[in-house]
């Protein structure tokens, strides 16, 4: 086996080819990241940034206020308000999990709120105290116009068992 451990005479073309492919992949990643990057912000961060965000697509996370959900079914126009949720995982941990954090954020009258408009099908998961992750841009009218709406319901947590459970 040691006999063949000499340098391969034709190896340079393989090394060159390999480097070219690696360079192509790096280019693809860099340029695609550039083209598709979106800021992921909390409502507070968005308001703090103001115009600095420009007309880039941004992603905002917040908790849905169920009372504000309005759906104009004729025009498929969905409107609702989301309240600021801290993005810091440690803070979420301290509050006792995501479900608890969302609950607290919605109850907090001081929490900043943002009105969201989304045109399309109302997602099945949209409801009170769900976490909404909306992608789109801020309008001149102060309403966030979302092209994409993602919902997360951390429902498998304590406090979710029906209340009548206490009688048993």
């Amino acid at each position: 086996m040691t006999e063949v451990a000499k340098a391969n005479p034709g190896r340079w073309k393989f090394i060159l080819g390999g480097l070219l492919i690696v360079a192509a992949i790096v280019y693809l990643i860099a340029s695609s990241t550039q083209a598709a990057a979106q800021y992921y912000l909390t409502i507070d961060e968005l308001l703090a940034k103001g115009d600095a965000v420009g007309d880039r697509d941004i992603k905002i996370s917040g908790v849905v206020d169920g009372d504000t959900i309005q759906y104009d079914i004729k025009n498929l126009t969905l409107r609702f308000t989301i309240a600021n949720v801290p993005a810091d995982l440690d803070e979420i941990e301290k509050a006792g999990g995501l479900a608890e954090t969302l609950h607290i954020a919605l109850e907090d009258p001081q929490a900043t709120r943002l009105e969201v408009e989304y045109i399309g099908v109302m997602p099945d998961l949209l409801r009170d105290e769900a976490q909404a992750i909306v992608t789109g841009r801020m309008g001149e009218d102060g309403i966030f116009h979302a092209d994409e709406l993602l919902l997360k319901c951390p429902t498998r947590y304590e406090g979710d068992v029906p209340l009548q459970a206490e009688d048993g």
Binding site: M1, T2, V4, A5, N8, G10, R11, K13, F14, G17, G18, I21, V22, I25, L28, I29, S31, S32, T33, A35, A36, A37, Q38, Y39, Y40, L41, K59, Y71, I73, K74, L76, A87, L89, I92, E93, G97, L98, V121, M122, D124, L125, R127, I133, E148, L150, K152, C153, P154, T155, R156, Y157, E158, G159, D160, V161, P162, Q164, A165, E166, G168
Partner: protein
């Protein structure tokens, strides 16, 4: 009672796996075979023990023991029994136990093989698998206990704990919250076990690779032993991915099947590494090259299997699948990092031992093209991994979370995928060692000439989209080259042995199952590419709010809204079911029933599309909602999904091809048993 037994069995299994790992390693180091044997018994014990623990959970689920936190969170009275049972993998705690159970079953099966020639690897195989098992068991024993009870603490808080907290009283809820209705679908019942089987089966080749490194075996024995395991792992992982796509298409109601969601990618990453591995091991078997690389790939696959489980179970990333953040995140992080570093150090330590026996000589040789294939798979892997972790990286560096969406993956992975397709057309024509572009050209020109007709025809019928033209041309080339390969093989047998064509085909595939199984898999990929390009480039959609009798037009289709009914079912749903008629070119073709089911127990609606599914296209209708005032005007979203069914058909062909390839070893075993009677061609 049952819960306590279940929990103690889990603890016992955890201790058994720790003991197994320790005893086997000690026995190997001190050269005391009785300790290795004892470790092996401990390992064989984990399977039955975990069967008891899983049976306990299933029994609790099926009989509605809602005083158990996990049971209350995933089942409810209105669920049918089969869903209660399969709720085992509907939540975090249960699915971790399920993972461990499969893992124990697989390792036991692997350990029952004849170890005569590989005695020295056995203790290390036991150690690696039992450490992995112990890790998963530690998660359920210490953090995510499926047997923990619900309690009402003194200050009125509801808590989940194994032992009664002071001052707390037991809670006995009459009903549970029920499984997320989105998961109550046949695809979702098979999809997680399929993925888990794939994940778990990859632990076996990893364990053999580590055992080979530790015992300084420089041959490719570990690859040959685990060939069937890698294929089994691979087919389950592939099936899991395809079924997940089918579930998304049937249930999520957005007309798609893959959304580059982090958790989808989490399952794709080990598949990519595993697929690269599947190709590059052939180079090691045939030419004794890429030895280091294959070890790196199997380590990577193992790490990505853990990473995949971690992503879907930790909530680090925002995803529709993810559960909330839980304590097991850091544990996973430490374990993945730890095993990865230890494995790589071991490889570096044994580096010299694994020197290649040959060089790459020709650019068009089979081994060079396999290497290129690996580059492309790794490229897609790196792109996808980058997309998943980019938010974390950007936050770390700039303090600002920046995400990338589906356009990133499509833009970066598209060219790499196209490259793989083209490679799939050329590589089967190359030979090992030295191949020139002339030999390739000689084999390629006939199928290539036929392929030229495809873009010409497409252009002629008015298709101008460059992605469609390029993609379909590449896919057609693969299809023609592969079919031509079959044809040449069949004709050769026909001439030499005088066999008729079906028999010649049967024998051709039977004599070289891995090669022709691989070709069938490639044909499955072509069919899937055909469907994916079709729906991605030519999907159209529209939406409309209609009164009864009104219609909406989409391309050649017209849909009229005939009727709606809203009713309660006896399993706790409120169903709104519309009746629509579909006309194609003015002719009535079908009646569809898109619905919206509202589940009272989990207060969630599920949209079930009405689909007219044909080979050429799907007509896919979603009932978006009812006008609250009239209770009869309904809003529909309508999709036209061309060629989407080729994705599923391709998936079936793909699976069949894998089965053909897996069969190789059983054929050989039969050949060994009847070696005297069997002709030497069966090799």
């Amino acid at each position: 009672m049952i819960a306590n037994i279940g929990y103690y069995v889990l603890v016992l299994t955890f201790l058994a796996s720790l003991y197994g790992a320790g005893a086997a390693a000690y026995g190997a180091l001190k050269n005391k075979p009785e300790f290795v044997e004892s470790g092996r018994y401990a390992m064989l014990l984990t399977g039955p023990l975990l069967t008891v623990a899983s049976a306990a959970i299933i029994w609790l689920l099926a009989t509605g023991h809602y005083e158990i936190g996990f049971v209350a969170s995933v089942t409810s009275n209105s669920m049918p029994t089969y869903l209660k049972v399969t709720a085992l993998w509907g939540g975090q705690e249960g699915s971790l136990v399920f993972w461990a159970w499969l893992m124990a079953a697989f390792t036991s099966a692997a350990s029952l093989r004849k170890w005569d020639r590989d005695r020295e690897m056995l203790p290390w195989f036991i150690m690696v698998t039992m450490i992995t098992l112990a890790f998963f068991l530690s998660l359920v024993v210490f953090f995510e206990n499926p047997f923990a009870r619900l309690w009402l603490s003194a200050d009125g808080q509801q808590v989940t704990a194994m032992l009664q907290p002071t001052g707390a009283v037991p809670l006995n809820p009459p009903d549970g919250r029920g499984l997320n209705p989105l998961l109550r679908h046949p695809g979702m019942i098979i999809h997680p076990p399929a993925l888990y089987l794939g994940f778990v089966a990859y632990v076996i080749p990893y364990a053999f690779a580590m055992a080979a490194l530790i015992t300084r075996r420089s041959d490719d024995r570990w690859i040959r032993i685990t060939r069937r395991w890698t294929l089994v792992a691979w087919i389950f992982l592939s099936l899991g991915l395809i079924l997940g796509g089918r579930w998304a298409y049937d249930v999520l109601g957005w007309g798609g099947y893959w959304g580059w969601d982090p958790v989808e990618i989490a399952a794709l990453l080990p598949w990519l590494a595993g697929t690269a591995f599947l190709h590059s091991v052939m180079v090691q078997e045939k030419k004794g090259m890429l030895k280091h690389w294959n070890v790196v790939l199997i380590i990577l696959t193992y790490a990505l299997v853990l990473f995949g489980t971690f992503l879907s179970r930790s909530g680090v990333l925002s995803s529709v699948h993810a559960f909330a953040k839980s304590a097991i995140g850091p544990m996973f992080f430490v374990f993945i990092g730890g095993t990865f570093i230890v494995s790589l150090s071991l490889l570096i330590n044994r580096w010299e031992m694994l020197k290649g026996e040959n060089f790459l000589t020709s650019v068009f040789s089979r081994e060079a093209l396999f290497l290129l294939n690996n580059f492309l798979f790794m490229g897609i892997l790196v792109v996808s991994f980058w997309g998943v972790i980019f938010p974390l990286i950007s936050e770390l560096i700039t303090g600002q979370k920046i995400t990338v969406g589906p356009p990133f993956y499509e833009r970066a992975n598209g060219p790499l995928g196209l490259g793989l397709l083209i490679l799939m057309a050329i590589a089967p024509l190359s030979a090992y060692a030295s191949t020139t572009w002339k030999t390739i050209g000689r084999a390629l020109w006939k199928p290539a000439l036929v392929t030229l007709l495809v873009p010409l025809t497409l252009y002629f019928v008015g298709i101008r989209n460059p992605i469609a033209l390029l993609g379909y041309t590449a896919a057609a080339l693969v299809a023609f080259v592969t079919l031509y390969e079959f044809w040449r093989g069949v004709m050769a047998r026909h001439r030499q042995h005088g066999e008729n064509l079906p028999l010649a085909l049967w024998r051709l595939v039977g004599r070289n199952r891995r090669r022709y199984g691989g070709y069938i898999i490639h044909l499955g990929v072509v069919l899937m590419a055909f469907g994916i390009i079709g729906i991605e480039v030519y999907q159209t959609e529209t939406q409309a709010t209609l009164s009864r009798g009104e219609q909406v037009t989409l391309g050649r289709y017209v849909m009229t809204y005939d009727d709606i009914s809203v009713f309660d079912t006896n399993d706790g749903r409120n169903v709104a079911r519309a009746v629509v008629s579909v006309y194609q070119d003015g002719k009535f073709v079908d009646e569809l029933y898109p619905r919206k089911d509202y589940y009272y127990d989990s207060q969630q609606a599920v949209t079930i599309p009405g689909t007219r599914s044909m080979l050429a296209d799907d007509f896919y209708v979603i009932l978006v909602g009812l006008d609250p005032d009239s209770r009869s005007d309904a809003t529909f979203k309508v999709y036209h999904n061309p060629l989407v069914n080729f994705i599923w058909i391709g998936g079936i062909v793909f699976s069949l091809g894998t089965i053909v390839a897996v069969w190789v070893s059983s054929g050989r075993r039969r050949a060994n048993k009847t070696s005297s009677a069997t002709r030497s061609t069966r090799t």
